[in-house]
């Protein structure tokens, strides 16, 4: 297992390197991205532009710029007169702050959103799927799948205003969605994020319910389930101890990727509820052509996905002894 982890981490490093190189090229080396001009915004005069060009090293060859950028990530670098401590992802063109600091500052909101939504859709999605599989063909199955379909057909920007109207504006049941740190007040943390959690979860529940259902149905047809029944085990023992384990592999795969994308920022959800997270940061930085910030967000997303993949592989090996993690 250790050898596996080391290999995968090295592989992850290579992938991230490649992603950073490609992103860097896309942003900084594609003609049309007049970096210097973008950076200085409205108060652009030739001397200012020249200064920026020098600060950012834009006159150097692209590969050198990239290496400087990479070096900055590991060891920090100086941009103009400012010291940019490691990991240095540059300075935002918009707020002139280090990208890293801004992104990290937004992370707790996004992570909170991700955790809450994941717990909800896992519990209810998998639960609904199991119910449907166990009552296959009966009313409970059909009703569950209809709910799932409805949920999956919803769009967040439709659900969000609707929920806000019902639960916040016209009834005072919940406060306006806002982020309160868990460490400050767990109750308020939940109350502030409950509505976005539910909205987000409804969409995912559809996917997990259908996936769990079909996975369970497949597993229940396997020969070893028949053997387990022939040994005299009760129905719940058959389902919980044996069928569930086999059915979870596909769910785990999708879960890893979904968590990764949630950590990278649930963009529409954050916009719909006015939450200041990484997703909103991504949107704003694109709208403002804030290249360093965009790069920072992209790299964060890539890292989340890569790590999620590794974790999924490890969990796989833990679930299924046939998989050798060698």
């Amino acid at each position: 297992m250790l050898a596996f982890l080391v290999r995968r981490l090295l592989g992850a490093a290579v992938i991230l390197l490649i992603i950073s190189a490609v992103t860097f090229l896309l942003f900084f080396a594609v003609p049309g991205n007049e970096v210097a001009a973008l950076s200085c915004g409205k108060s652009c005069t030739p001397p200012v532009v020249a200064e920026i060009r020098a600060d950012l090293g834009l006159d150097h060859p692209v590969w050198q710029q990239y290496l400087t950028y990479l070096g900055g990530i590991f060891a920090g670098r100086a941009i103009g007169d400012n010291a940019c401590h490691a990991p240095c992802l540059g300075y935002s063109f918009v707020n002139k702050q280090p990208v890293w600091d801004t992104v990290v500052g937004r992370l707790p909101v996004t992570v909170s959103l991700a955790i809450g939504a994941t717990v909800l859709f896992l519990v209810f999605g998998v639960g609904l799927g199991m119910l449907a599989a166990l009552r296959k063909g009966k009313l409970a199955d059909k009703v569950s799948m209809v709910f799932a379909l409805l949920g999956g057909s919803m769009q967040i920007y439709v659900l969000a205003p609707f929920f806000l109207y019902i639960f916040v504006y016209s009834s005072d049941l919940l406060p306006r969605p806002t982020y309160v740190s868990f460490f400050d007040s767990p109750v308020d943390w939940v109350k502030g994020l409950l509505l976005p959690w539910v909205c987000l979860a409804i969409i995912f529940i559809a996917l997990y319910a259908r996936l769990t259902r079909s996975s369970m149905v497949d597993v229940l047809n396997e020969d070893y389930i028949r053997t387990v029944r022939a040994k005299g085990l009760t129905t719940s023992q058959v389902y919980v101890k044996h069928a569930f384990r086999g059915a979870m592999s596909p769910v785990v795969t999708i879960l890893g990727l979904d968590i990764a994308s949630l950590f990278a920022g649930a963009i529409i959800t954050e916009q719909s509820f006015g939450l200041v997270g990484v997703g909103q940061l991504a949107v704003n930085s694109v709208l403002a052509s804030d290249l360093p910030m965009m790069m920072g967000v992209v790299l964060l997303a890539a890292t989340a996905v890569v790590i999620a993949n590794i974790v999924v592989d490890v969990v796989y090996a833990a679930i299924d002894p046939r998989i050798k993690v060698a």
Partner: protein
């Protein structure tokens, strides 16, 4: 005469499908005395596996309908409560299946799977159960059982996996073992070992065995009595000697004639039973084997197409065929036996 261990009377299993009702088993009756081995032979689709799953009540009630009587030590299992059946499964009646790789859970070790059955039925703790698992693995001939008990099924070879399945089935000392094609997925040398193992265990545990197979050789080696099934019905029943040496049904003749010879000319073509098994949805009113039978012309009138033959006589060597007993004996002695090269005195 002591009551038989298992007594099946007029067992019928029907499945409802989109195309109609499939009569997978259509009136099966037999007795199994204690400690004896019954071989059930037949083609795919003859109803052999379906009837054995019905004994344990393993057909899902949503699509299947089981009627008739299955008396296990006097208690009727048809329509019995699930709770009752569960207490029997794995403890008094065990079953082993054809493909040991897919029939064992890949997620738990062999030891855990044996222990699971043992703990379920005896309430033993983990240590006791594990000891029993090691003991059973030793009994089924797995070397170094104390090491292998922690291995997963995919780490075992095919023959060893089947031995492990047998270990699971016998760990609670069942009175009846149903073996559904236990050697079909194994190669011939391993097959011989497994059959040897079953023979040893049979005498040690005094278990009754129902051995389902399509291989006459396996029946010849293992069975005391034989049941030949066709289209969900029993077409011949008798001791293994009677059925294999002096068969009385055209289907049995066909089965025996189709066995390739070890001696003689290699170029002689194999003689299959011509035709294909009937649809179990639209069974003909008469004898289900009639379309494939070469001898129905020797029955006067059109009884073969209009009248379903009963399994007669009630006891002893019986066959479900309209041919007279003397005809059957004559045809076999004069025509079938020489052509098939079946030597040896009856």
């Amino acid at each position: 005469m002591p009551e038989p261990l298992l007594s099946v009377r007029d067992l019928k299993v029907r499945f409802s499908t989109d195309d109609g009702v499939v009569k997978a088993v259509d009136g099966l009756s037999f007795d199994l005395p204690r400690g004896r081995t019954l071989g059930i032979v037949g083609e795919s689709g003859s109803g052999k596996s379906v009837s054995s799953l019905a004994i344990l009540g393993l057909h899902g009630p949503e699509h299947s309908e089981v009627s008739g009587e299955i008396l296990f030590e006097g208690e009727n299992l048809v329509g019995a409560r699930e709770n009752t059946l569960r207490k029997l499964r794995g403890k008094r009646i065990s079953m082993i299946f054809q493909d040991p790789l897919t029939s064992l859970s890949p997620y738990y070790t062999i030891g855990e799977q044996i222990a699971e059955t043992y703990r379920k039925h005896t309430g033993a703790n983990r240590k006791q159960a594990k000891r029993r698992a090691v003991e059973m693995l030793a009994k089924v001939g797995i070397p170094r059982p104390e090491r292998r008990v922690d291995d997963y099924p995919h780490q075992f070879s095919g023959g060893m996996r089947q031995r492990a399945m047998i270990a699971i089935a016998l760990c609670c000392d069942p009175d009846l073992l149903i073996a559904d094609e236990p050697t079909t997925a194994l190669d011939v040398t391993v097959q011989a070992q497994i059959l040897d193992l079953l023979r040893e265990l049979r005498s040690e545990f005094d278990t009754g065995i129902i051995l389902i197979t399509h291989d006459m050789g396996v029946v010849a080696q293992m069975a005391d009595e034989v049941l030949v099934m066709y289209a969900g019905r029993c077409v011949e029943r008798g001791t293994v000697r009677e059925v294999l040496k002096t068969p009385q049904h055209p289907y049995s003749w066909g089965l025996l004639s189709s066995i390739p010879h070890l001696t003689g000319d290699v170029d002689v073509p194999l003689v299959p039973v011509r035709g294909t098994p009937p649809s179990l949805i639209d069974l003909p009113p008469g004898c289900p084997f009639q379309p494939r039978c070469d001898f129905s012309a020797r029955v006067p009138g059109d009884r073969c197409t209009t009248e379903r033959p009963s399994l007669l006589p009630e006891t002893g060597h019986a066959s479900a065929c309209h041919l007279s007993t003397s005809d059957k004996t004559l045809i076999f002695t004069d025509e079938i036996r020489p052509a098939a090269g079946l030597t040896g005195r009856p």
